[in-house]
Symmetry: D2
Subunit: 362 residues, 4 copies
């Protein structure tokens, strides 16, 4: 399996990580360390970091140590080079747009965590458990390679929780208030002088992203475009003193007025393609209902399913919309690096990366 | 002015604080220290604390030192004694119910922060700026003295923000998600092992209180009862790692579809009785709109108006209900001790405390 | 290998956990879930919890879920029953003393995390990497079974860092200031109202424990007693808003005035028995020097070596004592449950548990 | 009293604040708002802020609102202009050095919070309660005006606590570990992603400053230079998740082996010039011993004496140096803006500012 651009062949698919020194990039590098399908052959960053060993260039913020295999890897400047078929983009949105296009035009399949191309008509905004059929949009791209995007960190958890309800009943209205962790803001991100003993009830652009991305992800593909789901979404976003894990307080109006038992059953029965087809990063159950009366909580539940599952709890009636509940998902694993990785795994499994063969599963 | 039950006359009205050693009791004692109208003559607590000097009995948690005047005051057990006309109750709800009735039957006007009597038909649930006319319910009480209650800490901020809108336009639907500070939970309250780097999306009984109390407070008095306001309220409550100050993310549906400018004008023009009649604890402006794009925030705005004002910000359209905004108010000042004090001041100003004359204002 | 008291034989040694519902008990249960040598056959707690399923009795505070195998295990009251050779005690010190003696007299080897017997003349205070020879004290116990204790959570990290220096040069004076995490205080422990935006510069009894336990652990066994090390230790202890991981600021005076390079070499060369003899919980390197100028930090380094290693950094000259450095170790893994487990593994490996054979290593 | 450079005379002394938009600058502006002696006539900042109204240029981080009087004040670029006799410098150390000299050469008395000139031979490093006689060094400056510096935020608390002991007994050795708040790092300062649930055991340059500044402040003036105190100081500095207030764990060796009662008496009897001569910002008691066993704590004691006092507690024997204790002081009030202000008041009271008369005290 796999083309090996670097010559050092262990059968795994060679990948490049763009923007590897930032916090999302670090998570990606960490998750790729022992990945059964992928092998890092190139790390890029801005000119300031280029030419330095990765361990010197990255200001490491994760609790696990820097993977040995990449400590000495010399970081390169972010520009097209060589012939790597699969590229992960953890670039900042201030630069991601044209750079990702360059790589796609050079033939690479770019899986991006940046917001720049998410709303492009022919770019899939992918949550592999929710809308894998959106990958059919790739046929309408004329890059040579392609671009697939991972949604906003809050939207992923929200759509994972909503998808089973949308499939089973139809979602009509969604009111969501987010309590977001700081790791999503990267470094330096939010100053501790601003956030300790405090809540910041504003995250630039976040409410708009949640309101529109949710409708694209839950929409359906017709020909070469997405028909957005007919759902009214209202979002309020806040930043709270939590390291990892976004908490969402959700109210929903569903078609057909299902009972709470039917709703719980819809979550429990949610069978998702990524686990079925054996993607290495797919959680066994993407949506897990937690029974404790005060669950889910970010510190206790963010690592469920290796950080890839969305936990849900506190389902109860909402006097306004019908039902309300709480979700927690890990914003830098599921909501960023891990989500991006799962997108790439789905692309490979569906043979959508040029020159790369899908690994045979055991 | 003022009857002096204790014999030590400085012209100020003698008051008793029930449950003086808890966190709300401490705030009350602190606020009463230099109060121009009131003078503490008795502090009570449970049998465990009775007989000890206040500074030994109270595990002080406030940043200002224990007031000198009460350090040596011997704490008494909480039971009716003497003839004090005005009683503040900071009792825990596990004991407050019958004790407050005992004091009321003994002739005292009891102003309570406990939840026990809030929903009693003839007991005013008072936010002095919002529903001072609810004090007319007192005429229907047959205690001898009387009971007036202060709402839940979250409800106060919510009703302060809603009242100007309800007066000007009519409020029909309210969706509120609270991000509540820990001081509301008292001591030991929430363990730091549970709350650090975490959010707890559940506070027992809180959502129900907000949903019903809001309707009583914004209701109107007809004869000897309150006609609840015809508003649908949905609340979701969370606890966040903040010391003081509740943050509320609010969505509202108003009658008549006012513009955002009209809504801001309603807040700006909100003239409230407490300041007009010169109550010492009344903030000049009970509702303050804060313009910064990321305001209000608990650490920056909880002390506005000496902790007695409700700050509002981020007014913007809500795709679901029409408008959304954020409020911050101080949960143990405005939301508990300060609110209780303001209720008492209003009672005195309206000559509703037997044997106590309203102070002449300068 | 292993006697199987319960009849359900998978070859692993059956163990009992006393005080299994508290926070240390939870960590123990969690670490024992997939332990290659041990298998839980009995969980005990106070009468309040007895008779309930473990998942109902324990208020779970760990980020990993409750192990499936024990969710339905009925918690029993803490008293001697049956014939289990190895007993872990996570009992509170208010009850641990006599209960642990009862079990030891009934023939069990008790490995305790409680403080009660730590200073007993014939009870080993064991850090397996540091003073395994102290287990010879067991011969002088007349319980039938035996008692071995795990030190205070701060002392373990301190003695791990000091032991290589004491072996290589001799430690004479130690000044240590601790910044301790809240998980060590258990539940409810420290209220979040006391600790948010705060430091509490006092932990009852902690300074005394560190000052004396360090001297016992670094002492030598002569006959049936320990000759305490001739080291002057001064400790100041504080509690900080950190979930897990104690940070220690240490200054030391060593014999012979070694260079900083020699000190680093002593740490790097520290070969410890637990890893050599293949104990499952032994970290490959018990003391890890971290080079970053602002390391070690509790959130980044507490999980080094699976939470069993002590990280050290910032070695530099001390104008007063000669050298200063910083250590971080995980207070509920290495400092409590994991440390206790390692003690038990050492006992088994040395054939010191009656009726239990040491597993053959692969 | 007072020259009025701006023509708008209310009798108060006109002052300039350099670097007014940063966090120390904000505190200064806040403290100067209603100052009885001083009146702000000019605010400066970097070119990026120059020309904007102060309320737009300053990203306000204090819980009290921006003072009305300066909201609309147009921020000017930091360079010598006009003829203001007294200048407060809250400049960043990257630019403060030459700029402060420029102002001093133009005739202004510059009172600086920056580190640049602290160690200059002829520049007083002033804690007005501790070493007011160091102002005699001004005579040896040849600027025309002069430069006086305020020490590092940690050093101020330390020297306030040590000065009474040094006067009464003589201090010989000091070991100090600091637990520092984030406000000292300014904005953006420490990222919340780095500090939440964490301790950072390193603050660049801080240990060196404490070790040397303490010796200068406690030294004596001989002719035109300071003879440094013969004290060995060892400092370890950490950053903790606290907003305001530095906590110091101190061990000291004193001459003459005084008893703990004698040490407490030395603190209690510490009569300091600033309060005696009636400086407006002088706390009544600069050192306050707090008796509670777990005091002092930053959240409870940082505002003692309006944030200008140093609280001390937990005096007890130290096995190594003789005595140990804990101090808390407010790092941005006493440790920065308030301390700078007190220095200026002392200069004025001693008639050391050219063209400015000392106010007559009531």
């Amino acid at each position: 399996m796999g083309t090996d651009a670097s010559g050092a062949a262990d059968g795994r698919i060679p990948v490049t990580v763009l923007g590897a020194t930032g916090s999302v990039g670090q998570r990606l590098v960490s998750l790729l360390e022992e990945h059964p399908w992928f092998r890092i052959v190139r790390l890029t960053a801005s000119e300031r970091s280029a030419g330095r060993a990765y361990e010197d260039a990255a200001r490491w913020v994760l609790p696990s140590p820097i993977p040995r295999g990449v400590r000495g890897t010399i970081v390169e400047v972010t520009e097209v080079a060589g012939d790597v078929p699969l590229v992960f983009s953890a670039l900042d949105s201030s630069v991601a747009g044209p750079v990702e296009e360059d790589f796609a035009r050079a033939g690479a399949m770019v899986v991006s965590n940046a917001k720049n191309h998410r709303m492009d008509t022919v770019v899939p905004l992918l949550v592999p458990e929710v809308n894998p059929e959106h990958l059919d949009l790739l046929a309408a791209q004329d890059y040579g390679g392609g671009i697939v995007t991972n949604p906003n960190c809050s939207t992923i958890g929200l759509t994972l929780a909503l998808a089973p309800l949308h499939r089973a009943f139809g979602v009509r209205k969604v009111h969501v208030v987010t309590l977001q962790a700081v790791s999503g803001a990267g470094l330096p991100g939010v100053s501790s002088l601003q956030l300790l003993d405090n809540v910041i009830p504003f995250i630039s652009g976040e409410e708009e992203k949640i309101e529109i991305e949710t409708r694209k992800i839950l929409g359906s593909v017709r020909g070469s475009e997405v028909v957005y789901a007919d759902i009214t979404v209202s979002a309020q976003c806040t930043r709270v003193p939590v390291v990892d894990g976004h908490t969402l307080c959700v109210s929903v109006a569903l078609d057909g007025d299902p009972s709470m038992d039917e709703v719980r059953a819809a979550w429990a029965d949610f069978a998702a393609l990524p686990h079925t087809v054996g993607l290495p990063s797919a959680p066994e159950r993407p949506v897990v209902y937690v029974e404790e009366p005060d669950a889910p909580q970010p510190r206790l539940h963010r690592l469920l399913g290796g950080g890839m599952a969305c936990s849900v709890g506190r389902l109860r009636p909402c006097p306004l919309l019908g039902l309300k509940f709480v979700t927690v998902s890990h914003n830098t694993v599921r909501g960023a690096a891990g989500g991006t990785l799962l997108c790439a795994e789905m692309l490979v499994a569906q043979d959508r990366v040029a020159g790369v063969e899908a690994p045979t599963r055991p």
